[in-house]
């Protein structure tokens, strides 16, 4: 089988990156989405726009700014160095940071929509039953927004798996640290190793299709009230 150890490492690394990123995004994206869904502040527009930026920006813009700001002469690079963390480019944590930014709208937006569609009534009902705001959030809002969480998790994970441009610009192509599947495919193609490229690329194609099938399939089912 033309699936070398390098290829397996790339697959494992990609899953690790997507898993970590999705987890972090659910953790930090949920409060952002909740705030965006409920706030009447004038900041809602600017924050919403900032979250959506990766949807329209080419990955080269994000990659370029990350390379410069995370580098030894950039503000974040100087911060991480003074904290003793070293520099983030060419490291796994650096890729996680990049992926969190890059996949942010794919997690925050479905959550925001889910929270918005709850409306005021269930929350008010909970309040009249003397539920605390935290209790309301965890016992009422979260369960009701479950479909939103499913969508956010799937999209965040899949979009991170599909990341390429940003990784190419700040990853440095290091085995087991930053060489993800998309980069490995690129290397195979460039080196005319089409057989290996086919295995990985075909795998990605099937994976992505199944993910979207699961997503749209579950949506269709819930619309029909199963």
């Amino acid at each position: 089988m033309p699936f070398g150890p390098d290829d397996w490492n790339a697959v494992l690394l990609t899953l690790k990156l997507a898993g970590t990123t999705t987890l972090l995004l659910l953790l930090f994206g949920t409060p952002i989405a909740w705030w965006l869904a409920r706030t009447r502040s004038w900041l809602k527009g600017p924050v919403g726009a900032a979250v959506a930026l990766p949807l329209v920006l080419p990955p080269t813009v994000l990659g370029f700014y990350l390379l410069v700001t995370l580098g030894p002469n950039g503000p974040i690079g100087q911060l991480t160095q003074s904290l003793g963390l070293g520099l983030l480019p060419f490291t796994f944590p650096g890729l996680v940071l990049a992926s969190v930014l890059y996949s942010m709208p794919f997690v925050v937006q479905p959550l925001q929509q889910a929270f918005e569609s709850l409306g005021e009534r269930p929350l008010e009902a909970a309040a009249t039953l003397r539920a605390s705001p935290w209790d309301t959030f965890f016992s009422v809002a979260l369960p009701l927004a479950r479909p939103g969480f499913v969508t956010a998790t799937i999209l965040g994970f899949a979009h991170t798996v599909g990341e390429f441009g940003v990784v190419l610009m700040i990853g440095g192509n290091i085995p087991e640290k930053t060489r993800v599947v998309s980069v490995q495919i690129y290397d195979h193609v460039e080196a005319l190793e089409y057989t290996q490229a086919h295995w990985l690329a075909g795998g990605m194609l099937v994976f992505s299709f199944l993910v979207l099938l699961a997503l749209y399939g579950s949506k269709a089912r819930s619309r029909h009230g199963y």
């Binding site: 580098g71 070293g86 060419f90 190419l168 440095g172 192509n173 690129y186 290397d187 193609v189 005319l192």
Partner: protein, 259 residues
């Protein structure tokens, strides 16, 4: 409604004029240029256009990547590779005009840091360490990357250095990683660290002795797309002739290449 009609007429005349100018002007030639040769080729292309009227449209990238693109029908007419093997392979595969292959430059490898006093003139820093990342072009795709690997193996330092590698997609990105300081040092082409007067742009550098790696003979060739009825197209032929001429050779030498 005379005004819009008149401006439409003016616009049409202007457009016609532009088309006529393009048609009357000499031809364009699409050139794939190895990334290490970016700066000298930009200069040569500007002079070429001034002197001959032909326009060279340049694309820069890794030699291996250009090879696969050319094999898959890329519209390049002239190829300036970073090695001699790739054009030779293309010749065997009938991808070039037979007999059009020639060496336009012999490349030099350097170890470079954007900071002064990091790289010593013996390359001892490679053995001393004190850096997290060593940047180089992907040795599978870029001849300068392969030369860097060869050098480290010749020094017996490959195994200790390999964990510090950051691999760039081509030599320009390898330079970029060092220039932004994200890698303290890296193997790049001599031409990349020199300005147009042949002076070191900055930082510290070690010119790797030629005995540590096989000579980087950079060959050019006229590709199949640069031919018509088995002959070179005029602009492609003119460019190749120009590259062999004194003016171009002077630029090539200024950037530290041998000839």
């Amino acid at each position: 409604m005379t005004l819009p009609r008149r401006s439409a007429a003016i616009l049409a005349t202007a457009l016609l004029g532009a088309f006529a100018a393009t048609a009357a002007r000499a031809d364009e030639v699409q050139v794939a240029v190895a990334a290490n040769f970016t700066a000298p080729m930009q200069k040569i292309a500007a002079q070429f256009e001034k002197d001959t009227g032909h326009k060279a449209v340049l694309s820069f990238g890794a030699t291996g990547k250009f090879y696969s693109q050319i094999r898959n029908g890329a519209p390049f007419e002239v190829f300036l590779a970073a090695d001699d093997e790739t054009p030779a392979r293309l010749e065997k595969e009938n991808g070039i005009l037979p007999g059009s292959r020639f060496t336009y430059a012999i490349g030099k490898l350097v170890l470079w840091s954007a900071k002064p006093a990091i790289v010593d003139n013996q390359g001892e820093v490679l053995k001393k360490g004190g850096f997290d990342h060593l940047s180089l072009a992907n040795p599978k795709l870029a001849p300068y990357g392969a030369a860097a690997v060869e050098t480290m193996k010749a020094l017996g330092a490959y195994d200790t250095l390999a964990p510090k590698f950051v691999q760039a997609e081509n030599i320009a990105q390898a330079y970029n990683f060092v220039a932004t300081g994200n890698a303290l040092l890296g193997f790049v082409a001599y031409a990349q660290v020199l300005d147009e007067h042949g002076q070191l742009k900055g930082g510290s550098v070690w010119l790797v002795p030629g005995k540590l790696y096989s000579p980087i003979r950079q060959d050019a060739a006229i590709l199949e797309k640069g031919t018509i009825n088995g002959k070179a197209k005029p602009a492609a032929e003119a460019l190749v002739k120009y590259l062999k001429g004194d003016k171009a050779r002077a630029v090539i030498k200024t950037y530290g290449y041998d000839l």
